[in-house]
């Protein structure tokens, strides 16, 4: 990959992060959880995208981002209320921005009409915000960074006739808006023939300005670089113009200087007064190092070079200024990712955020996967090694055995740490949902509020990746089929706005995701009719409520009367169910007529390791996931009761629970195992139902590395996966829920309702 493509890729990765930040921020604003930092973060996100896009000449993106940014700026400065309407427009703009980024990356065309509409709406908001302002022509909104230069190349201009001017001639009229501008040109700015005094003159033209110049950085004559930049200007500007008008002045030098523009409200506050020059000085000092380098560009050739070219060639890392984002992140510079991170994390009030943010690196997923594979092998070999040692007659109390224990602990720690690298909060999936909900709600004409919970629940990356599709599908379903139309809701005495709740949680060593709506619930009568019509169930079938609900998971089932753009194409819940099963997960429904439905999917936390109890079943070794086990016991003859056919119950203290003969379920034997000769393992299924698994004996407890059975062999009902034991043999890992459920509903003609039947 050549350097430019690499930079481009970094830019798009950055964009994805910024967009996520943007959306999260806007949602926080929508929910009223926002503070000024949130608004700043949102602003920065858009600004950074704009800055980066400018470097790659992505004009559409720049233009849109610019308008968006202008509007956000109004919000940031408090002139625009974050009312519901405003936030809605902003959210849609964020979606549009995301689309534009995608288009810029992958090609294709954006919805120009929608974007134009949004631009108008955004501009409308700006105008609205300016309503009370003194005359403020807002050419700014439309302009964009791609407009022609505001001023020419400075001192080389022959038309420039210096006149003895009283500065008051230069000054515009003062106004209510007060800004403190700290402006520190970099040598690059001069190299492009931009003159600081020209910029300053433009500032004077805006209103009453008081400039003070910090000369403390100017070195000794012997050390000076004649074309260097050593001066920092602090301008106190009082103007009738709005902030973006002020920013416009700096638009063409903003890439080549340190700039902070800050609105001062009321009388200058003592704290800020003291703070700012200090920070400016610190920043200036940080900056002084790279800038001392002589600039390669010659003054005369630097006619009016776009900031773009210089950006892309700029090799030296630039400490990012975490100020209120006058400066966009610089995706072109190698240091950009870290800098942008810092930028995003900076508190926006002026703390130099460079050092404070958490350090992250980007690693190829492939490398991590390889590491995980290797660690898996390490664990297997460590187990093998210690087993061999004991087989060779090593005393359990010997030093070597102690060493093995330590080694085991160490391997385990390594494994945990490696797994932690891949664990990610489900937030990354949840983040995409608001947009989905908005779009589906728009199309279906329903009002929907999305509530997410537990978005920090961590789960393995592979699980997350494969979670997105089924989740998307289920949410679409919840809105399209679950929620009623607003008028129907009102008629039913519910709020007009439907609620879709998505919650993630850890439960018994798995991640459980619940998607619930407060809609009408499943229309069981209709579901059954359709299923019978489509020949999915016999007409005379007598189905329980759960069984009826589970019909929607059958292939080819669709309740939609008409095919909409959302659903009704017959690819439905069966696909969802299959993809979840492929992950080693399960999905179930609970529906209450008139109250809504809840879809629950449960997935393994990781697809790599498992704590298991090693048990003997017949002459096989089977692993029971430890997370499902509550206790083990040896049933006495008096505690085992049989009823109907060969079903058995075991009494544990004062409750009875079904006794599941594992060997029989898995087909290892056809005889009923003697209940008193084996061990009963009490397990709890995900729905909370308890059963006892009857096995022949317990061998031990161990961490096993999961090897996918599906990938290497095929899916086996009742078996979740396989593993390799210390002696090299393959052992199967029991899918407890499936085994328990199968034992209940044998003879049923479809097995989707099995879980509920166990209750």
């Amino acid at each position: 990959m050549d350097a430019m493509a690499e930079i481009r890729q970094t830019f798009f990765e950055e964009c994805a992060e910024q967009l996520a930040e943007l959306e999260a921020g806007l949602l926080a604003i929508e929910n009223g959880e926002a503070d000024s930092d949130t608004v700043n973060a949102v602003f920065r996100a858009v600004h950074s995208i704009k800055g980066g896009a400018g470097a790659f000449c992505l004009d559409d993106l720049v233009h849109f981002a610019h308008v968006f940014e202008t509007t956000l700026d109004e919000m940031r400065s408090g002139r625009l209320d974050s009312s519901e309407k405003v936030v809605k427009i902003m959210l849609r703009s964020a979606d549009a921005l995301a689309d534009l980024v995608t288009v810029a990356r992958d090609g294709g065309t954006a919805d120009a009409e929608r974007n134009a509409g949004l631009i108008d709406e955004l501009k409308g908001l700006v105008a609205l915000a300016k309503g009370e302002e003194p005359p403020a022509p807002t050419a700014a909104a439309g302009g964009g960074a791609s407009d022609g230069p505001v001023y020419d190349d400075g001192m080389g201009d022959i038309d420039f006739t210096p006149v003895a001017v009283d500065l008051s001639d230069l000054m515009g009229i003062g106004g209510d808006n007060k800004f403190r501008i700290v402006f520190k040109p970099s040598p690059r700015m001069y190299a492009k023939a931009n003159e600081a005094n020209r910029v300053l003159r433009d500032v004077y033209a805006l209103g009453e300005a008081k400039v003070s110049c910090n000369t403390s950085e100017v070195p000794h004559l012997t050390a000076i670089d004649p074309e260097g930049a050593y001066l920092t200007f602090t301008i106190e500007l009082s103007t009738a113009e709005p902030e973006e008008k002020v920013r416009e002045v700096f638009e063409f030098v903003e890439f080549d200087c340190d700039l902070s523009i800050e609105a001062i409200h009321d009388a200058p506050d003592g704290d800020i007064e003291a703070d700012d020059p200090d920070i400016a000085e610190i920043l200036a000092r940080i900056r002084a190092t790279p800038d001392d380098e002589p600039t390669p560009a010659k003054t005369d050739e630097a006619e009016e070079e776009a900031p773009v070219a210089a950006k892309a060639n700029q090799p030296e890392p630039e400490p990012e200024q975490a100020k209120a984002a006058p400066q966009p992140a610089k995706p072109a510079a190698p240091s950009a990712p870290a800098a942008a991170k810092a930028d995003a994390a900076g508190d926006g009030k002026g703390g130099a955020g460079v050092g404070g943010a958490a350090q992250t690196i980007r690693v190829d997923l492939e490398r991590v996967d390889r590491l995980i594979d290797l660690v898996g092998e390490l664990v297997i070999h460590q187990v093998m090694l210690s087993q061999r040692a004991y087989q060779a007659g090593l005393a359990r109390a010997s030093d070597v055995a102690v060493g093995f224990d330590e080694l085991e602990q160490l391997t385990r720690e390594i494994q945990d740490s490696v797994m932690a690298i891949r664990a990610q909060p489900v937030k990354s999936v949840f983040q995409r949902l608001p947009r989905l909900v908005r779009e589906v709600a728009d199309i279906s004409g329903k009002q929907v509020r999305l509530v997410t919970e537990g978005e920090w629940t961590e789960v393995d990356k592979t699980v997350i990746e494969r979670l997105a599709d089924p989740l998307t599908h289920m949410i679409r379903n919840a809105i399209d089929h679950g929620l009623e139309k607003p008028e129907d809701r009102l008629a039913a005495g519910k709020a007009e706005e439907g609620v879709v709740r998505v919650a993630a949680m850890h439960r018994s060593g798995r991640i459980v995701i619940e998607i619930s709506d407060d809609g009408a619930g499943i229309n069981r009568k209709r579901v059954k009719e359709i299923a019978i019509k489509k020949g999915l169930v016999p007409a005379e079938a007598n189905l329980s409520d759960e069984e009826t609900d589970n019909l929607i998971f059958l292939p080819g089932f669709s309740t939609a009367d008409k095919i909409s753009s959302l659903s009704g194409r017959g690819v439905g819940m069966d696909v969802v169910k299959r993809s979840i099963q492929a992950l080693g997960g399960r999905v179930s429904i609970a529906s209450r007529p008139g109250k809504g439905s809840t879809f629950t999917m449960s997935l393994p936390l990781t697809l790599a390791v498992l704590d298991g109890m090693i048990v003997s079943v017949g002459d096989q070794t089977v692993v029971v996931p430890l997370t499902a086990i509550i206790e083990t016991l040896q049933p006495k003859a008096s505690e085992v009761k049989s009823f109907g056919g060969d079903a058995r119950l075991v009494q544990v203290r004062d409750t009875f629970m079904p006794l599941v003969d594992v060997a029989r379920e898995l087909g290892y034997s056809h005889e009923l195992a003697s209940a008193t000769g084996g061990v009963a393992i009490l397990v709890e299924a995900e729905n909370g139902a308890r059963s006892a698994l009857l096995v022949d004996g317990i061998q031990g407890q161990r961490q096993v590395v999961i090897k996918s059975l599906e990938a290497n062999y095929g899916r086996v009902p009742g078996i979740a996966a396989a593993t390799i034991l210390g002696d090299g043999r393959v052992a199967l890992i029991l899918d407890v829920d499936a085994v328990v459920a199968t034992s209940r509903v044998e003879g049923n003609f479809f097995n989707s309702g099995m879980k509920h039947a166990a209750e």
């Binding site: 420039f160 210096p162 000369t215 000794h220 004559l221 001066l231 301008i235």
Partner: protein, 104 residues
């Protein structure tokens, strides 16, 4: 120009007439010229200056500090209006330049 009197030796010293145009391109020659004049009292004649660029101002500040450091007199004579207003735009005065403290 208060500085003139600070050095009691006062007297002659070189007079260097600043060029009319002190723009970006003039920065390097100006720095070289001033370097060559080091070690003696100097009076900069700013009467002809018509255009004053920021980088040249930087050099003048550096020079003032250097002269001060070397205990030699440094002064600016007869600043033209352009010179003064050029400084003023940057938030400076001829006085401010002369009073520049020694930079490390």
């Amino acid at each position: 120009m208060a500085r003139k009197s600070t050095k009691t030796s006062n007297a002659e010293g070189a007079v260097y007439a600043l060029p009319e145009v002190l723009d970006l391109k003039a920065a390097t020659p100006l720095a070289e010229k001033l370097m060559s004049l080091r070690g003696q009292n100097i009076v900069l004649d700013a009467s002809k200056v018509e255009r004053l660029g920021t980088q040249c101002v930087q050099i003048l500040i550096a020079a003032a500090a250097t002269w001060k450091d070397e205990m030699a007199a440094f002064s600016i004579a007869e600043p033209s209006d352009s010179f003064t207003s050029g400084l003023q735009v940057l938030g400076l005065t001829p006085q401010a330049i002369l009073e520049k403290e020694v930079a490390q």
